[in-house]
């Protein structure tokens, strides 16, 4: 009797242990929902899927990965956050521009300091600043996003057009005015031969992101700092003067017929298309998307030149306005701890490097050690990537103003500067008046985003 009771007890205990183990295993295997921006090339998506698979194998969890196109993803994220049905991890190429600063402000993002802090020494200062956002619910700043990659505005030109006009790449000046006039002189010569080309492909519309990237980079070159690092507005007379100078610079080029008239209604892809169809001699564009899209045709890839920014109007080097592409965990995510683990996994230098190379170098690393460790980024035979690296990773950089105050993200979203450009070149408004109108709108937007000191 006693033996049988002991057997029964032992059997029960074993069953219990096995059952507990089974339950524990079942409980550990969780599903993480990840929404990710679809890449421009199949290799980008494959790299994302490979990292996801590696994490699944390491942790035993599964990932429900959804890839959304760039055109839909902002609406998807904003709808999800508004409805409270959010994924565990969200990455979009425009998170930094239009989503993360505002959502961090509203307290809709999970603090990811535990992901960023261990990697702090590896990131550039600009990348770290770009993730250090203000939460208006808690009235403090913290890391609410994880930096993955970055972009800056680069100048691209057609080498054969320069040659056709009787110049060489070495003739491109380094001084501000001479640099821009150089492209005008090429246009003049090519037009004299009956070619319908424009010197400068500046996006100056009120749609998309390229236009405000171009304007803000030029404004920075003229010394405009619209927002102080503490998040307060800096609309001083000096800033006004710099903004007027920027609009005047654009208006002069437009009036001189150097910028295509259609540029005031360009969408993001339009300057790419105009440049690649050889209707532009040069264009400014964020990221290396223009040359990289031609990587399969090495002849064209090498016919396109990527140039360093000229010295600023004051003769000093210009800081590159760097947009850091970030992932975040929305508040309400079902698996926030697993999401942090996933982001820590993906943010490891080697994994980021693999993903960036899969994008053919379109985006650049946020960790300088990748540049040192991987010759891909410094290959002197490549006509684009090392120059871009020199400009936006090792050169002087600045974060976007919305990092300091999310109100500036709304300034961009409302296309305040795009509208000012349109008013100046198309509606007969003076640069002074356009800047005053823009400042009035900016002040109104900032009044809704007061940061406590």
């Amino acid at each position: 009797m006693r033996v049988s009771r002991l057997r029964a007890a032992a059997g029960g205990a074993a069953f219990g242990v096995l059952g507990t183990l089974l339950l524990a295993t079942t409980a550990q295997a969780a599903t993480l929902t990840v929404w990710w921006n679809k890449g421009y090339y199949p290799s980008e998506d494959e790299a994302t899927q490979a990292v996801v698979k590696a994490w699944e194998e390491k942790t035993g969890n599964t990932v429900n990965l959804s890839l959304y196109s760039t055109n839909n993803i902002d609406a998807k994220f904003i709808s999800a956050i508004s409805a409270g049905e959010v994924p565990d991890v969200a990455y979009a190429d425009i998170n930094d521009f239009l989503i993360a600063p505002q959502q961090a402000w509203k307290g809709n993002l999970v603090d990811v300091s535990s992901v960023v802090e261990p990697l702090k020494d590896k990131y550039t200062k600009t990348a770290l600043l770009s993730s250090y956002l203000y939460n208006n619910e808690l009235h403090k700043r913290s890391y609410y996003t994880v930096p993955l990659k970055q972009q800056a505005l680069h100048n691209f030109y057609w080498k054969p057009m320069i040659k056709e006009a009787g110049f060489s790449v070495k003739d491109i000046p380094n001084q501000w005015n001479a640099y821009w006039d150089f492209w005008g002189s090429i246009q003049k010569k090519l037009r004299a031969d009956g070619k319908r080309v424009y010197a400068l492909g500046f996006p100056i519309s009120a749609v998309g992101t390229d236009n405000f990237y171009t304007f803000n980079q030029f404004a920075l070159a003229y010394g405009a700092h619209f927002v102080n690092p503490d998040g307060t507005l800096n609309l001083t007379p000096e800033t006004r003067k710099a903004a007027i100078a920027t609009l005047t610079f654009i208006k002069d080029k437009y009036d001189a017929g150097l910028i295509p008239p259609g540029a005031i209604n360009w969408q993001d892809s339009d300057n790419n298309a105009a440049f690649l169809s050889k209707q532009l001699i040069m264009t400014s564009n964020a990221s290396l998307s223009i040359p990289v899209s031609q990587a399969d045709d090495q002849k064209v890839y090498h016919e396109i030149g990527t140039g360093m920014q000229p010295l600023g109007p004051d003769g000093k080097p210009i800081k590159s306005l760097v947009a850091v592409k970030v992932a975040f965990i929305p508040k309400g995510a079902k698996q926030p701890d697993l999401a942090k683990d996933f982001l820590s996994f993906i943010a490891q230098p080697k994994r980021l490097d693999g993903m960036l190379k899969a994008a053919r170098g379109r985006w650049l690393p946020v960790m300088p050690e990748l540049i040192k460790d991987d010759p891909f980024w410094t290959d002197p035979k490549d006509p684009h990537i090392p120059i871009a690296v020199e400009q936006e990773v090792t050169g002087p950089t600045a974060p976007w103003p919305m990092v300091y105050n999310p109100a500036y993200a709304q300034v961009n979203a409302e296309e305040v500067w795009g509208k000012a450009e349109g008013d100046v070149v198309n509606n007969g408004i003076t640069p002074e008046k356009a800047v005053d109108n823009a400042f009035a709108q900016i002040k109104k937007i900032f009044s809704q985003y007061q940061i406590e000191k």
Binding site: R196, Y198, V207, A413, K419, N426, Q441
Partner: protein, 310 residues
């Protein structure tokens, strides 16, 4: 048959039969409500009600809840581009829709003429409508592009001058939206009116001809009166659809230049998802209700009236 006239008689008969049919004296009314027939009826109607609540009541209610906030309307009305957007929307639904419907009415007569190549011509004419709207409008955008568009390239090739800024001049851009909106939807309404015209008895035209009516008089005194109800219903319906039309503006002008060609549908999406203020976006859409609701009421009233005449 005028069924509405006959309906009171049917109702009277039904009422009489109900009055005659007595419930058992000891059976309470509640038990009759839960009779097997009623329960089956409820069971059959429940899935429809659930779907209706889930996919109609909830989204509309949620949208209204999102948009009906005073601060959303304050933000919307203080947006410098809102009133311009209202004017554009009215231009599209008043000028665009009416011009389109009138042209469709005229063209429906043209396509009913008995020429050998007319079916082929109709086939070609229908193509813009038959093609999916997004690639069609993207093609239009490229056609109108100032630099590499077909029209201005032809002008450059011929005269070495830059053509008009079709998409860079606000007036030309809004005009382009209206023209290509008409071009896209004209075939659909033309086909509807062709169907309407074929339902007009030929006897009426013959009688008109016997009375010495010419073609214009036949149109004025036979076609138009017979088509009037269909024309009005189609116009109202088209106005309702056009109020929600997003693709035309989005893919031809993108709302530009300088945000001057937005309509309420595109402004709502811009506010909700580009600026990230869903409540302001909903407010933009809700602000169309003062136009939309009367149109829907007119449509329902008119359709109800038409049913009486059949």
């Amino acid at each position: 048959m005028n069924w509405r006239k006959s309906r009171p008689q049917q109702n009277q008969a039904a009422s009489a039969s109900l009055r005659g049919a007595r419930l058992p004296a000891d059976e309470p009314l509640a038990s009759h409500r839960f009779s097997p027939e009623n329960l089956w009826g409820i069971a059959f109607i429940l899935p429809y009600l659930a779907v209706f609540c889930l996919f109609v009541i909830y989204p509309i209610g949620y949208g209204l809840w999102l948009g009906l906030r005073l601060e959303s309307f304050e933000a919307l009305f203080s947006d410098p581009i809102y009133w311009r957007t209202v004017v554009n929307t009215l231009l599209l639904i008043i000028v665009g829709v009416n011009l389109k419907m009138f042209l469709a009415l005229l063209l429906s007569g043209f396509f009913l003429q008995r020429y050998r190549l007319m079916p082929l011509l109709l086939l070609i004419f229908i193509l813009p409508w038959a093609m999916p709207s997004i690639p069609t409008f993207i093609a239009v955008r490229w056609l109108l592009n100032s630099q590499w568009g077909l029209i201005n390239n032809v002008i450059w090739a011929g005269w070495q001058v830059d053509g008009p800024g079709w998409l860079t001049d606000p007036t030309l851009a809004m005009g382009g939206v209206i023209v290509f909106y008409i071009w896209k939807w004209l075939p659909f309404w033309t086909v509807i009116f062709i169907a309407g015209r074929t339902a007009i008895p030929e006897d009426l035209y013959e009688a008109g001809r016997v009375d010495g009516a010419n073609k214009i008089e036949l149109f004025r005194y036979v076609t138009f009166p017979m088509m009037a109800s269909l024309y009005l219903i189609c116009t109202v319906l088209s106005m309702i659809w056009t109020l929600g039309d997003y693709n035309t503006v989005r893919f031809i002008t993108g709302g530009g230049p300088t945000l001057s060609t937005h309509v309420l549908a595109t402004l709502g999406i811009r506010d909700a998802f580009e600026i990230g203020e869903p409540s302001v976006g909903m407010a933009a859409v809700i602000s169309a209700l003062p136009v939309l609701v009367p149109l829907v009421v007119l449509l329902v009233w008119r359709m109800n009236k038409e049913r009486v005449q059949l």
